[in-house]
C-alpha cells in the first residue's frame, strides 16, 4: 500500500491519487476528496486523530482510519 493522508505530517501537502475505496463516505468525495486535488494537513488532535485538513479549498476533519484509505503523492517544499 502506498502513501496515504494518514502519513502526512503537520503542515505537509500532497496530491490525491486514489479515493475509490468503498469505505470512503460519498460525502467526503463530494467535499472534494477526489484524484488530482491537493490536500494539506493543518492540525492534529491528540493521538494523531482526527486530522484537520484542507482539501481542494474545503476545511474538514476526518478520522485517521478514513484518512488511511486515501492515497496521495507528497508535494515537497
Amino acid at each position: 500500500m502506498g502513501l496515504t493522508i494518514a502519513d502526512l505530517k503537520k503542515g505537509e501537502r500532497g496530491v490525491i491519487t486514489d479515493s475509490s475505496s468503498k469505505d470512503i463516505p460519498l460525502k467526503l468525495l463530494e467535499m472534494g476528496c477526489l484524484p488530482g486535488n491537493e490536500v494539506k494537513l493543518l492540525q492534529l488532535a491528540p493521538f494523531y486523530d482526527p486530522l484537520y485538513l484542507n482539501v481542494n479549498g474545503s476545511f474538514l476533519a476526518i478520522r485517521k482510519d478514513t484518512a488511511a484509505l486515501i492515497l496521495i503523492e507528497r508535494i515537497d517544499g
Binding site: 460519498l26 468525495l29 467535499m31 488532535a45 482526527p50 476545511f59 476533519a61 478514513t66
Partner: protein, 700 residues
Amino acid sequence: MGKQIKVALIGNPNTGKTSVFNALTGLNQKVGNYPGITVDKKEGVCKLSRGVKAHILDLPGTYSLNASSIDENVVIELLLNQKDKDFPDVAVVVADVENLKRNLLLFTQIKDLKIPTILVVNMSDVMVRKGIALDIAELETQLNTKIALVSTRKGTGLQELKTLIEGYKTLPKKQCLDARSIDVDYFERLEKAFPNQEVYKLWLVVTQDVNFGKLARKELDVSKFQTKSNSELKRLQQKEAIKRYQFINGVLKKSQVIDRSKAKDIRSKLDRILTHIVWGYVIFLAILITIFQAIYDWASFPMDLIDTSFASLAEWVKNSFPNGGMLTELLAEGVVSGIGGVVIFIPQIAFLFLFISILEESGYMSRVVFLMDRIMRRFGISGKSVVPLISGTACAIPAVMATRNIENWKERLITILVVPFTTCAARLPVYLIIIALIIPEGTFLGFSYQALTLMSLYLIGFGMAIFSAYILDRVMKKERKSFFVVEMPNYKLPLLKNVLITVIEKTKTFVLEAGKIILAISIILWVMASFGPGEKFNNAESIVTQNNIDIPKGELDDKIAAYRLEHSYIGIVGKTIEPVIRPLGYDWKIGIGLVASFAAREVFVGTLATIYSVGSASEDESIDTIKTKMANERYSDGRKVFTLASGISLLLFYAFAMQCMSTLAIVKRETKSWKWPMVQLVGMSIIAYIFALMAFQILN
C-alpha cells in the same frame, strides 16, 4: 389574496443560509414539523412588490442531493416530487463566497433537475479581505443563471435577490452537466425504461433508494428497474462528482481570481490556539465554566423577580375574586402557581440558548468536535456527540434530534441513550430551589458555594452520561465502520439578529410545550388535592376540632387543612408510595412531586407550591415564596423536611432519573422502537433510586 411565489432556500451548512432566510422574513416566520418526522420545517413570508409575496421554505443544510441523514433527505424528497404542495417555483441556492467551488456542486445538481434556480453568493463583505475577485456577469453566463451578490452582515444585495425571485419565470433552464456522460449505456437504458422522465431525476431516485432506503412520498417507482450493484453505483456517483468538479473548475477559471497574498488569515491564527493540544482544552473548559457561572449569576435577578411577582399575583387573585369560591381557589392555587413554575424558567433557558447559539454561529462548535472526537470515541461515542451533550444542557429533545449528523448508528444510538443524563433546563428550577435551601451562602476562590454545587451537578450529569456510554459500548455489539466528516467552518462574529431569533424561537417553543404539560398537571393536582373520598376528608373539620379543643383558632385551621390534604385523593397516592421513598429521606408530599415529575420534571416545584398552598389555611402567610414555604416544612415531630441529607438525595434523584415524557416520545421516534425509551426509563430510574438511597443513608 395576491400572488404567492413558492421559494425553496437551499444550501450547504455554514453558508449563512439561515441569515438570508432571517434577512428576508424577519420575525415573520414559523417553525413546524414535516409530517411523520421530527425535522424542523421553517417557513416565512417576504413581501416582494405590488402585492406579490414570496413564501419561503428554509430547507435543512445539505452538501449534495445524495442524502445521508433524515434532514438532508427532506431536501431530496421535496425536489424529486413535483406533486408536493411545497414544490418550489424557484430554488434559491445560497453559496459562501469563500467556498464557491464546493458550494457549486449542489447548485449544479439542482439546476440539472430543471428547476429554475437563482444563485446567492453570500458573505460578499469578506471578498476584499480574502483577496477574492468575481466576474459576476461571466459567472452568470457560464452557469446559465442569475446571481445575487449578498452580504447579510451589511444588508446588501437583498433587494436584487427579491427582484430576481419575482422574475423567476425568465430564468434559463439549461443544465450544467449532461447526465448521460456519466455512463452512456446505463443512462440510455434508464431513459428507455421511463421515457417521460428527466434522466437525472431518475438517477437520483435510483441512487437514493440504494443509499437511504425508501423515498416515502415519491411519485416515481423505479423498483422494477434492473439497476447495478451498490459498489458500481457508488463508482458512478464518484464519477459524477468528478465530472461536476471538472465543470465547476472550468467555470471558476474564467470568472474567479483569488489573490492569496492579499488574504488575511484569521482562521489559522485562531486555530493554532483553539485547537491546540493543551490550550484548546483549557479554553473549552474555561468557556463552559463561564457559561454556568453566568447562568447562575445573571439569571438569578429576573428569576427572583418572577418568583415574588407570582406570589403576589396569587395573593391578588385570592383577594380580588369572589371569596371562598371554587374558581378563585383553582385560579390562585392551581393555575397561577402552575404558570409561575413555567415562567420562572425563561431567564435561564434564554441564556442557555443564547450561549449555545453563539458557540454554533461563531464556528467554535466544530473545533470542539475536533478536539473531543478521540476522547469521546474511547467511550463509544463520537466527537459529534459533544454537540448533543452540550445542547442537552438546554433540553434533551433538540439534543436527541441533533444526533442526526452522527454517521455511525451505534455511536448515535448510545448518544441518544445517554443524553438525558445531561442537566437540562427543566432540572434547573428543582436544583436552584433545593440548593438555596440546603447549601449555605459564601464564596470559595471567588465562586459561590451555591454556584459550585450547581456546577458539580452539571459535571455529575455529564460524568454519568460518559460512564453509561462506556458501559453501553461494551454491552452492545460492535459495528466497525466509522464515518466521520466534519466541516470546519470559518470563524465569524455571530450575527445579533440570528442569535436573537434563535433564542426567542426556541425559548418560546420550550415554554409553550412545557407550559401546557405543567398547567394541565397543576390543575389535576389541585383537583386531586381539593377532593377526597370518604368520611375522613369530608368531616375533617369536626374530627380535628374534637381532638384539639384547646388550641388557638389559626393553628386549628392549619391542622384542619393539613388533615384534609392527607386524606384527599392526592394524599392517598402520596401515602401509598411513602414506604418506597422513606429510605431516600422524602415525605409523602415530596412523593407526590416525584410522581408528578415523571410526566415532566419541571413540574416538581409547581407541584410542591400547589400542595403547600392547599395545605395551609392561614391568610397572612400567603405572600410567602415557594422557597420560604419549603424551608418551613416540618414533620409532625418538628424535624425539618429539607435537610442536607434529604436535599442531596433529591438532587441526585433528579440528576439521574428519566422524568420527561416528551424525551421518551422523541427517542421512540428517532430509534423507531419502544425498546430504547423503555431501557432509558427503567435503567435511569433504578440508577437514580440507588444513588439517592446511598446519599441519604450516608449523610443522615
